[in-house]
Amino acid sequence: MSDLTVETRDVADVTVLYPHGFINAHTVREFDSAIQKAVVRRRFKIVVNCEGLSYIASAGLGAMMGAIEEIRGSGGDLRLAGLNDTVHNIFEILGFNHLYRTYPSEAEAVSSFREGGQAAS
């Protein structure tokens, strides 16, 4: 089994990415590619459902940072849902929780684009 798989699903105008496994310098290309494919399709409202993500190293955070300017500049955003304690902690260490909106569930993250809502955390 692969160390990381990333499925993509469109929910109306929101694209949800499902990374399953872990993201480090070895697996990051798969994750980066999924973000880039959404951007190429001009799907700028992106939710990363992290429920299947066990771990993320700086390479994965860099992949998100590398695309965020274009995404936000095009009126979209990249939001995260279902972070486990390990991933949430890494976000906090880096201060990424101030840069990205995070939500307990995918449904809340998806609906936040309709409400222009505030982050849950």
Binding site: N24, A57, G62, N89, F96
Partner: protein, 154 residues
């Protein structure tokens, strides 16, 4: 003849040497090993997870910067429980990288200038009590130290 009190047994501290190829496919193994060694040294699981991340980042730095992505080189890792502190040394024979030239994280500039460099170094410094680099006998030595007194645990 009075019986002599038995000497308290000193428990040996764990030390482990590992040599891995400079391939990113070994990063998962490095992370697992670090977590196991940190837990054996007495750190709780959450701290062991963070230490594993720091060593993952240090190993990634060696592969990407010292060896410029070459997969046919070697990295030595030395894990040592010194009682008061947990130490991990990474040794490589690649290009000397001056840590002062590695960019530090600047979240504002990340957004405005797409700067993604320096995240790994920033994580290492936030997680560990000390991160030092030295050049010795044409080898780069990166030493990561975490004290066990609970200080500075993020």
């Amino acid at each position: 003849m009075p019986a002599t009190a038995p000497r308290p047994r000193r428990r040996a501290k764990a030390t482990l040497f590992v040599k891995i190829p400079s391939e990113t496919s070994y990063l998962a193994l490095v992370r697992e090993l670090t977590k196991k060694m940190a837990e054996a040294a007495g750190f709780p699981e959450a701290t062991a997870d963070r230490l594993a991340l720091a060593v993952d980042e240090a190993t990634t730095n060696v592969i990407e910067h010292a060896y410029k992505g070459a997969a046919d080189q070697e990295i030595e890792l030395r894990f040592e429980d010194r009682g008061a502190e947990f130490r991990v040394e990474l040794i490589d024979t690649g290009k000397m990288v001056d840590p002062r030239t590695v960019p530090r994280v600047d979240l504002e500039r990340f957004v405005t200038e797409r700067r993604t460099g320096g995240l790994g170094m920033h994580l290492m410094e936030k997680i560990m009590d000390s991160v030092t680099f030295r050049r010795s006998a044409r080898r780069n030595v990166c030493l990561l130290v975490k004290r066990k007194d609970g200080a500075a645990v993020p």
